[in-house]
Symmetry: C2
Subunit: 234 residues, 2 copies
């Protein structure tokens, strides 16, 4: 019997990282990494991280503070003076919630930690299809990042980024999570609020539509139904 490989999972606490953790837990011994980057809902996201890590009995955890991203600014997620738009899932442009080059910061932390603790994989729940159009959520980005790891670490180091959700639609992610018993009720996706999900930001709208299309009910409470929603008035 071969021991499972050791892996780091980037666990923001949202539904995608929750399902990614469920998938990674079947394959690997997990360590969990959470990043604070000055986002408005950080305290709530961190609670989701801790609770999901508890659920999967992950004892090796690292919390990294990259809140300097708030001072760099350029995003509605970190700068309260930039408005988060109401959900518009048909918009083709990159939304104001884009944090310039954000995932490179998260991955750098994961790679440094992986090289130090001897993990050979890094799981990240990036989603291209059906997402908000962020450039750092596309498969080619992770292909290049894997080349960067090979070029920038010790010669004997082998670390690979794994993106199990990247080609899935959001409703498929919900179905996969249900199949694996992922604790969606512990996860948090809203960009705006920490008490009750707003139901109106892109992230809430994507989540609600995904659950509806999957024929499932989302267990977390919402303050409002998003405007795209065909049953909003019911």
């Amino acid at each position: 019997m071969t021991a499972k490989p050791k892996a780091i999972v980037l666990l923001s606490g949202g539904m995608d990282s929750c399902v990614t953790t469920a998938m990674a837990a079947r394959e690997c011994r997990l360590a969990a990494l959470h990043v604070s980057y000055g986002q408005l809902t950080e305290a709530r996201e961190r609670r989701a991280f801790e609770q999901i890590a508890d659920f999967y009995e992950i004892t090796e955890r690292l919390h990294v503070d990259q809140s300097y991203l708030r001072r760099i600014g350029g995003s509605a997620l970190t700068d309260p003076s930039i408005s988060l738009r109401e959900a518009d899932l048909d918009a083709a442009d990159i939304p104001a919630s884009y944090v310039p080059f954000r995932n490179a910061h998260f991955l750098a932390a994961a790679v440094s930690w992986a090289e130090t603790i001897g993990a050979s994989r890094i799981y990240i729940g990036a989603v291209e299809a059906d997402s908000s159009g962020y450039p750092d959520c596309r498969p080619e980005y992770y292909q290049v990042y894997n080349r960067l790891i090979a070029a920038g670490t010790r010669p004997e180091t082998r670390i690979e980024i794994v993106t199990p959700l990247i080609t899935l639609r959001k409703q498929e992610i919900v179905k996969k999570g249900i199949e694996l018993g992922a604790p969606f009720h512990l996860s948090w996706s809203c960009y705006r609020s920490q008490e009750m999900a707003c139901g109106r930001c892109d992230s809430c709208a994507l989540r609600l539509r995904a659950f509806e299309q999957a024929g499932a009910k989302d267990a977390i409470p919402y303050a409002a139904q998003p405007s795209y929603h065909p049953h909003a008035a019911s």
Copy 2:
């Protein structure tokens, strides 16, 4: 007359970033970025950063705190329990001062800031030849990083990492700095000490040898001459 392009220079405060700043200042309007990453000599390095930025009249400055790298550990630069070896400039292995994947953290901060303030170049004083053998100081690493920037930023964003020293020997860097009037007296290279350079760590040894080979005198004070030095006893 075309306006000079805007660029960010990664300015640690060491001799290489000092000369890089001197070179970049001739080509570009500069913004200066300094990173604290929990290194033992941070306070001294930050003073060097501020003084060199003053010297070049760079008003747009950003100090980024990535001191979570100290908690990740794995390096003698950030973990006091790991010994910094005495200088051994002929050693072929990667020394204990290697901070796993460190430059990826610095570059991520530079790219996020560049995309936000509209800078089109990032200068970094990485040196391959005649250096300590860090994997993230090789030209191919920066080629891959430039591809990562193209893949991971907005479609209209154009940012290029520039490494003007990467093929130079240390003595050539000293000569270039003297030619350009770089303020070496304000720079700091020692890995160990903040009052008087130790003269014995890799970084001091590389610097002292470079000045000697360039036929120049280093203006900063040293506590000792490194053991490799042919005139150590004189």
